[in-house]
Symmetry: none
Subunit: 251 residues, 2 copies
DNA sequence: TCACAAACAATCAATGTCAATCATTTATAA
DNA sequence: TTATAAATGATTGACATTGATTGTTTGTGA
C-alpha cells in the first residue's frame, strides 16, 4: 500500500470517528505501529490532524474541514440560495470583502453586472471573479493547503489597507454564547480583521452550523447579519434574533 | 504499444482509482518498470499527474486529456525544459519569487521535494504550488483578467516586504538595446520590483522572444540569467553573452 | 507517592523504490 | 537496403520506506 493511500484512510477514519487509536489504524491499514506513527507525524506537520496520546484527532473538535471539492458538491444548491440572498443586499458601487470558502464562492455569479469591487483571500474566488469580469483585489498571505485560503500576519495587515461597505463571511460554528467560531485560528484572525474593516457584516451559514462550536473564536453574534435557510426551530430563530439579525431563505 | 496509448491507459487508471502503483501500471500495460517510470516523469512534467513514492496520483484539478496530449506539446514541452533548467539552479532552502505566466508555472513540478519557499503573483501558480505541498505566499494586488496575475501598487508594495534568493520571471521581449520588455506597464513594475528584491535573477524565454521589443521596459540585460532553448544563431548567442549570462537548453 | 502498562521517539536492518546508465529492440529516414 | 534515431527493458547504486527493537516518557490507579 502506498503512503498516500494509507494516509487517506487515516483521514477518512478520523472524519467518521473524531478520535482514532493507533491500534485501530494499524488494523485497518495492515501497517505497523511505527508506520502509522510516522504517518501521524507527517499529517500533523501539514496540519491535517492533531496527535493525542494513544492516537490522533482532527484539528477541529467535530470533524475535518472537508476539502473545497467535497464541500462544494454536498450542499451546493442550499449554499447557492443563501448566497443569492446575500447578493440581494449588495448595491451598485459597493466595495466588498469576500471570505474564502465554499459558501462565499457561490455568491460570485450573482455579482455579475453589479459593478462592485471585491477583495478576497480565496484563491479560487479570484479566478472566478475575474472570469466574471468583476474588479478583483487579492490580499497577500500564506496559502493554506486544503482550502486555498490566504492567512497569516501578512493577510491580516493586507486587509487593513482596505475599507469595505460590506463583508461576506463563511463560518463553521454559530452559538449563542460562543458566537462565531471556525477551526483554524489563523483564519479566525483574518475574519476578525475583515469584520473590523466593514460597515455591514454578513455571515453565510446553513442550519447545520447552528449550535456548533469550533476551536477558534471569531466574533460574537451582535452586529452581524446571519443568512441561512429554514431548518431552524421557531424557538432557535427567536433566541438568535434577539442577539442579531437573522435572514431566513425559504427552500 | 504506442507511448501515447500507454499514457492514456495510465491516465484512465488514475481516473478510476485516484492512486495507482507502478506495479499495477506495469501489469496492465505489459510494459517494464523503466518505461512506466519514464511515462510518469513525462506526465508529471506536463502536469497531468502527481508522482508519489511507489506510484502516481491524479492532480486534483482535472485537465483535458486527449487533445492536449496529442497537440499542445511543442510549446509546452519547450517551456517545460526551460523551466527544468531554471529549477536546476534552485537550491534547498531558497526563497523564490515566481512570476505569473505560462512559462513559470512549468517550473512548479520541479520544485517538489526541494523545501523551498515561494512567493508568487500568479493565481494559478498558488493553486498548483499548494497541491505540491510547497510553502507558498501570495502577494496582494489587483487581479488582472486574462493572465490572472496580481499587479498594481499594492502588488509592488507587497513584494517589497520580501527578500528573495532567486527570482524567476517570464518575459515577452529580449533586445540588445531595449533590454527586457513586456506589454503591460503594470506587470513591468511588478517584475522590476521582484528583480530589485532578488539576489539572483533568472528569465525564462523561448527563442522567439529574442529581438522582440514590447511596450513597457522592465530592465536591461545586465545581471540577469536568461534561460532559453537553442534556436539562436551563434552570432546572436555571442552578442548577448557579452551583456549577460545565457543558458541554452539543448532540445 | 509509587509501580505498572501503554504510548512514544530513536535506531537499525531488510525491503522497496528511484534515477541513471547501457545494451537491445523497434521505428524512421536516407 | 542501410544508417540513424527513438523507445524499451534490464541493471545498478543511491535513497526512502518499513517493521522490529530499544530505552524513555507519559498516563493511570493503587
Amino acid at each position: 500500500m502506498l503512503t498516500i493511500e494509507r494516509q487517506e484512510i487515516i483521514l477518512s477514519l478520523l472524519r467518521e470517528k473524531d478520535v482514532v487509536t493507533v491500534k485501530e489504524m494499524c488494523e485497518v491499514t495492515n501497517a505497523s505501529e511505527s508506520t502509522i506513527r510516522r504517518d501521524l507525524t507527517e499529517l500533523e506537520k501539514h496540519q491535517y490532524i492533531k496527535r493525542v496520546h494513544g492516537g490522533a484527532s482532527l484539528l477541529k473538535k467535530k470533524r475535518e474541514e472537508p476539502t473545497l471539492l467535497e464541500k462544494s458538491t454536498i450542499n451546493q444548491q442550499e449554499k447557492s440560495m443563501i448566497a443569492q440572498k446575500a447578493a440581494s443586499f449588495i448595491e451598485e458601487g459597493d466595495s466588498i470583502y469576500l471570505d474564502a470558502g465554499s459558501s462565499t464562492i457561490e455568491l460570485i455569479p450573482f455579482l455579475k453586472d453589479k459593478s462592485v469591487m471585491v477583495v478576497t483571500n480565496g484563491i479560487p474566488h479570484v479566478q472566478l471573479l475575474i472570469e466574471y469580469g468583476i474588479e478583483t483585489y487579492c490580499i497577500s498571505g500564506k496559502a493554506k493547503r486544503g482550502t486555498a485560503a490566504l492567512v497569516g500576519t501578512k493577510a491580516v495587515d493586507s486587509i487593513k489597507e482596505y475599507r469595505f461597505d460590506k463583508c461576506i463571511l463563511g463560518i463553521n460554528g454559530i452559538h449563542l454564547e460562543q458566537g462565531l467560531t471556525t477551526p483554524d485560528p489563523e483564519e479566525a484572525s483574518v475574519k476578525q480583521t475583515a469584520l473590523a474593516q466593514s460597515q455591514a457584516r454578513y455571515v453565510l451559514a446553513d442550519p447545520s452550523k447552528f449550535g456548533e462550536v469550533s476551536f477558534a473564536n471569531v466574533a460574537d453574534l451582535a452586529g452581524v447579519h446571519i443568512i441561512t435557510t429554514n431548518g431552524l426551530s421557531d424557538e432557535q430563530q427567536e433566541t438568535i434574533s434577539k442577539q442579531t439579525t437573522l435572514e431566513v431563505v425559504p427552500l
